[in-house]
């Protein structure tokens, strides 16, 4: 305690208990004794040599990798591994136990302890009672369990977020997409440099259905029309309800005005088919304005929607129930509602 050096001698069984991974090596490098845990590991690794230099390989410090003289290793923090199995890495320290007696070397697993316990099937009895290895294993396992629980939580939240996202892109009444969704789809088409036609579909006579049969009937009509739109349009077309009785459809690849008018006409025909209500049957119609992306130098959702609106206005003015395609000449028209506000 007061700095004086004491010489102690301990029975080897005691050393085994305190340092279960120690080695006693004679001055010529021959291993004369091994702690029980280290003996278990080397035996399982099929080691037959009893020369320290043949059992272990020094990996740090590198400059000592070929050092055979234990005297030169005394007091240096070493990292070793078995010559036969490179998976387990040991920390080691060599001390001299007297010129004629040789060396005591103590080993531990250091940071690789978790995989070492697994690989060598070690138990509590393989460690010194004072060794905090069991606590390290506890901590590693606790960490893993908590992480697993956190991952489950994240996956659940991710699922909830996906659902919320679908809900935020869907029109609750008809199940069609909504304004936000169709805008995102359109912008994605534009970014991908794909050509398409945008239809603005406005129901005619819908207000009369609401006034005559009530809002529940109006909702039913919207649901039926939504279903018809879905069936009439092609797979890959996108159709959204963007207002009370207003729909927008995006038709990828369709750029010929004649084809657009023909398809729009078919849509109107379908919409005009009678809708059966509980006690009555009613009929609505629609007018359609179309804008084709190739007619724009730099297509953009809002500009195309406004153009389709201009064409829609022209369609309504020319008698409801038909479709018009926006042409550049429409720009000059100043009496469209949107042009006024623009």
């Amino acid at each position: 305690m007061n700095g004086a050096s004491h010489l102690i001698s301990l029975p080897t069984e005691t050393i085994d208990r305190l340092l279960p991974m120690h080695l006693l090596v004679d001055p010529r490098g021959g291993v004369t004794r091994m702690g029980p845990t280290l003996a278990k590991i080397t035996e399982a690794a099929g080691i037959s040599s009893s020369q320290f230099g043949e059992i272990f390989e020094i990996i740090r410090p590198q400059k000592l990798a070929n050092e055979k003289r234990l005297a030169d290793l005394v007091g240096i923090r070493l990292r070793l591994r078995l010559q036969t199995s490179h998976d387990t890495v040991f920390q080691a320290m060599v001390v001299s136990v007297g010129r004629s007696k040789g060396y005591l070397i103590d080993l531990s697993f250091g940071i690789s302890v978790v995989s070492a316990v697994e690989e060598h099937r070690l138990t509590r009895a393989d460690f010194a009672p004072t060794d905090p290895t069991i606590e390290v294993l506890y901590l590693a396992e606790a960490n893993r369990s908590v992480m697993r629980e956190a991952q489950r939580l994240i996956m659940r939240l991710q699922g909830a977020r996906d659902e919320a996202q679908v809900a935020s892109l869907t029109d609750g009444l008809t199940g069609l997409e909504n304004r936000r969704s169709v805008e995102m789809t359109t912008e994605a088409r534009i970014r991908a440099l794909e050509d398409f036609t945008l239809l603005e579909i406005d129901l005619d006579l819908f207000k009369e259905v609401n006034d005559t049969y009530g809002h529940a009937a109006g909702d039913e009509v919207l649901r039926v029309i939504a279903q018809r739109l879905r069936l009439t349009l092609r797979e890959g077309d996108v159709v959204a309800r963007v207002g009370g009785d207003e729909f927008v459809a995006i038709l990828p690849g369709l750029t010929d005005p004649t084809d657009v008018v023909r398809l729009a006409g078919r849509v109107i025909q379908r919409i005009e088919m009678p809708v059966a209500l509980d006690e009555a049957s009613c009929q609505v119609s629609a007018s359609i304005g179309a804008a084709i992306s190739i007619d724009f130098d730099a297509p953009e959702y809002n500009a195309m929607l406004q153009a389709a609106d201009t064409a829609l206005y022209r369609a309504k003015k020319n008698g409801r129930g038909h479709a018009e395609v926006w042409v550049e000449a429409d720009e000059a028209t100043s009496d469209t509602p949107l042009a006024k506000g623009a």
């Binding site: 978790v114 070690l122 294993l137 506890y138 901590l139 396992e141 893993r144």
Partner: protein, 196 residues
């Protein structure tokens, strides 16, 4: 009260009495989203409310429910990870009992914001222990008693475990180890938890 404990209570009520019963309890206790989250902390009042509702729905005294909860936490195959973490506490049941004063520290190592009550250990006679809990959640010792019964089985040790509430507000668990009566407990391999 930490979400992990509440989640344990939810798991116990669900597994023991069915999902339908749990939802009715959660509704009556006005729980948000129909359950607890493991990583949130809840006001102890909420846990009390769930227990009170469960007591009247199931017609079982809270003490019985808390003790069953304790056993469930150790014995449920769904909570194998928790059982293993407990087993790190001691080599045999006696060793485990004597490590219980480290439980709050162990819990904090695993989950930094998980606060468990302090447990003082007395050994008035050899192989007899008194575990005195100081907790602001009355009933903690009852849960502990249930856990210890299951842990004794886990270690394969016969023991008598009882608990009582003292007038000074502390709760005590009595453990008496019965000599020489060991049977085969459940396996505990140090490395088994590291795979996968």
């Amino acid at each position: 009260m930490h979400g992990l404990i509440n989640k344990g209570l939810q798991g116990f009520l669900t597994d023991a009495y069915g999902e339908g019963v749990w939802y009715r309890i959660a509704n009556a206790a006005r729980l948000r989203d129909g359950g607890f989250e493991a990583f949130l902390t809840y006001h102890p009042r909420l846990t009390r409310r769930v227990l009170a509702v469960a007591e009247s729905f199931l017609g079982k005294p809270q003490d019985v429910l808390l003790e069953d909860l304790g056993s469930y936490l150790v014995a449920s195959p769904k909570l194998e990870a928790f059982r293993r973490l407990l087993r790190f506490g001691g080599e045999d049941f006696s060793d485990f009992i004597q490590s219980l004063d480290e439980l709050p520290e162990r819990a904090r190592l695993a989950v930094p914001d998980l606060v468990l009550p302090t447990i003082n250990i007395r050994e008035p006679k050899p192989n007899e222990f008194e575990l005195i809990c100081q907790s602001n959640f009355s009933g903690f010792c009852t849960i502990l008693a249930g856990m210890l019964r299951a842990m004794a089985d886990d270690y394969g040790t016969l023991s008598l475990i009882e608990w009582e509430n003292r007038d000074d507000g502390s709760e005590v668990v009595f453990v008496r180890l019965l000599d020489g009566t060991y049977f085969e407990g459940r396996e505990f391999d140090l490395a088994a938890g590291t795979a996968g």
